[in-house]
């Protein structure tokens, strides 16, 4: 099996519908995911993440470009790629008139997995997702979070080599989300590869070896969470409570973002002391915190929007 789990080259997708102008959902997306990696696609709504995931999971044909799953051409020979993949669809729901146990087990059997393996994986997935107490209740009686966990359990139980998860923890409480994260990490330790989309940047940071930020159907930037954060020019952010009138000097420390009266400065740790001394000298309150992926994301996407 190829060491490259997924490789897309110049992938483009244009949607045509009568009476409206064509929409370019993907404008040349090239992505590589190595076997065993966890990779996230980040982007605003409509950025093209789900379109990419649908093409990668053989559910949508690209307009042009190539996409390979473990070396198999997923566009020309989707039937060759499908055994390698499993998908948690965006807004997917389990069958309401099946229990989570029935849902997972029958799905595994429909994929061609043998009885004993299906049974043991089904029970393991139920335990991993914390669904033991509701495993024999019809899904129609479950909460939204429990249904979503059932969907994730259904897909992780496949232990497919490449898992696509489109907003996998949506609607889950913080405890359940962490349970999902642990399970997904466990899967990659066993050799699976994950490609996920999420709007939760903390989730992306915890789960991902690498991230791609997509905007307007293009990859804006890619790298590890640390690399993306470092691209801001510092790893700390200092917020000066009332920084009006000081922006010019503050800009000499690093990139500044004004928010009302407050000014946030992205600063390298080596210049932190100097900046704090400056704030104290001007009798300004300052708070210090780490730069988050959210800042990197907002700046990256914000710049792209401004450029357009």
């Amino acid at each position: 099996m190829s060491e490259e789990a997924l490789r897309s080259v110049d992938l483009r997708k244009t949607y045509h519908s009568r009476g409206t102008p064509p929409v370019e959902a993907l404008r040349g997306v090239s992505i590589e995911v190595r076997r065993g990696e966890r990779v996230s696609l980040l982007g605003r709504n409509g950025a093209g993440k789900t379109t990419f995931l649908k093409i990668a999971s053989t559910l949508l044909r690209p307009t042009s470009g190539t996409i390979e799953i473990f070396g198999e051409d997923a566009d020309r020979h989707p039937e060759r790629a499908r055994p390698y993949i499993a998908v948690v669809p965006q807004e997917g729901k389990p069958f309401f008139h099946l229990t989570p146990r029935e849902q997972i087990y029958t799905y595994l059997r429909a994929r061609g997995i043998g009885r004993e393996t299906a049974k043991s994986r089904c029970e393991a997935a139920i335990a991993q997702m914390g669904l033991e107490s509701v495993a024999d209740r019809l899904s129609i009686t479950l909460s939204g979070g429990q249904r979503q966990r059932t969907m994730v359990a259904t897909v992780i139980a496949t232990e497919a080599p490449l898992l696509f998860l489109d907003e996998p923890s949506i609607g889950m409480d913080p405890f359940a989300r962490r349970g999902v994260w642990d399970s997904l990490k466990g899967l990659t330790r066993k050799g699976s590869t994950l490609l996920l989309t999420t709007h939760y940047l903390d989730e992306a940071e915890v789960l991902s070896d690498r991230l791609y930020i997509i905007e307007g159907g293009r990859v804006l930037t890619a790298g590890t969470a640390d690399e993306l954060k470092r691209s801001l020019g510092g790893t700390l952010k200092v917020t000066i409570a009332d920084g009006r009138g000081l922006e010019e000097t503050l800009r000499s420390f690093g990139e500044c973002v004004a928010d009302g009266g407050a000014v946030t400065v992205i600063v390298d740790p080596s210049r932190l002391r100097e900046l704090l001394d400056f704030a104290v000298a001007h009798e300004k309150a300052a708070t210090v915190g780490p730069v988050t992926l959210e800042e990197a994301f907002l700046r990256s996407v914000g710049r792209s929007i401004n450029d357009e």
Binding site: M1, K54, S57, T58, L59, L60, R61, P78, E79, R80, R82, P83, Y84, I85, A86, V87, V88, P89, Q90, E91, G92, K93, P94, F95, F96, H97, L98, E102, T106, Y107, R109, A110, R111, G112, I113, T117, L138, M151, T154, V155, T158, E159, A160, P161, F164, K190, G191, S192
Partner: protein
């Protein structure tokens, strides 16, 4: 980890058995829907019993044919509901399960649950219809054909809708027009003569006409028999093959 990845050439209808079972479990929980699936047929039988008891044999075999025909309506609704509301297509089509197995599995799962009320009607009809082995065999064959036709058409139709509510008007029109207005519950000879050839090429009324002829209720000419049986056979096969191919085609959005 990767031992499950089967890379043998994809076999048509792979995964069928387990998708039938899945749908069987899903439908099996809907006991109320199963129990009420015979309401229209029951009401029409009561009407016939009141208005013209002599037509009850025709009405009973018509009820059986109609019941098989309306299973396509269930396939239409189920397929659209699962695709639109549950995104089940995405879950199943991005897997080794073949799309045509998804279609046929759904249709068979629905059949295996909703066949029991039909069996009940067939059992009651034993008091009214003078079945011979050939008549029973013919009724079985044409009913199976009508089921396969309507399930195939129902699945194909389901792929054209983006919203569930839009389906109701069309499905009601389609199934009532061809299942109730056309001569399924009543003899073909009561249908306007100019429209009878149309009735003979539409699967539910063609099936009913063949059974009515075997019952001796109507005298169908040799040409009429060939027209009804030929068109039924062709339409059933064409729609089934079409639905299987359509399921494959629509498994991927263009």
């Amino acid at each position: 980890m990767t031992s499950d990845v089967v890379l043998s050439p994809s076999r048509p209808f792979r995964g069928l058995r387990w998708f039938v079972f899945t749908e069987l479990l899903v439908q099996g929980h809907e006991t109320l829907a199963m129990a009420t699936s015979m309401v229209v047929q029951g009401v029409l039988l009561v009407f016939v019993w009141i208005l013209n008891p002599g037509l009850l044999p025709v009405a009973f075999v018509g009820a059986i044919v109609f019941s098989m025909f309306t299973m396509g309506n269930r396939v239409l609704n189920e397929a659209a509901y699962l695709r639109i509301d549950h995104r089940s297509n995405d879950l199943y089509f991005a897997s080794p399960l073949q799309p045509e197995a998804y279609f046929l599995g759904m249709a068979l799962g629905i059949l295996l649950v909703y066949i029991w009320p039909v069996v009940a009607i067939a059992a009651v009809s034993l008091w009214v219809v003078a079945y011979t082995p050939s008549l029973a065999l013919l009724l079985f064959a044409v009913s199976a054909g009508v089921w396969l036709f309507s399930a195939s058409v129902g699945y194909i139709f389901s792929t054209f809708f983006r919203e569930n509510r839009a389906i109701w008007a069309y499905s009601s029109l389609f199934f009532n027009l061809f299942g109730v207005l056309f001569p399924v519950f009543y003899p073909l000879t009561l249908f306007p003569p100019a429209l009878q050839p149309i009735a003979l090429v539409l699967p539910p009324s063609a099936a009913a006409a063949l059974v009515q002829s075997a019952l001796g209720t109507i005298a169908l000419s040799t040409n009429g028999v060939w027209l009804a049986s030929g068109s039924l056979a062709v339409e059933v096969m064409a729609c089934f093959v079409g639905a299987a191919l359509w399921a494959r085609r629509t498994a991927r959005e263009p």
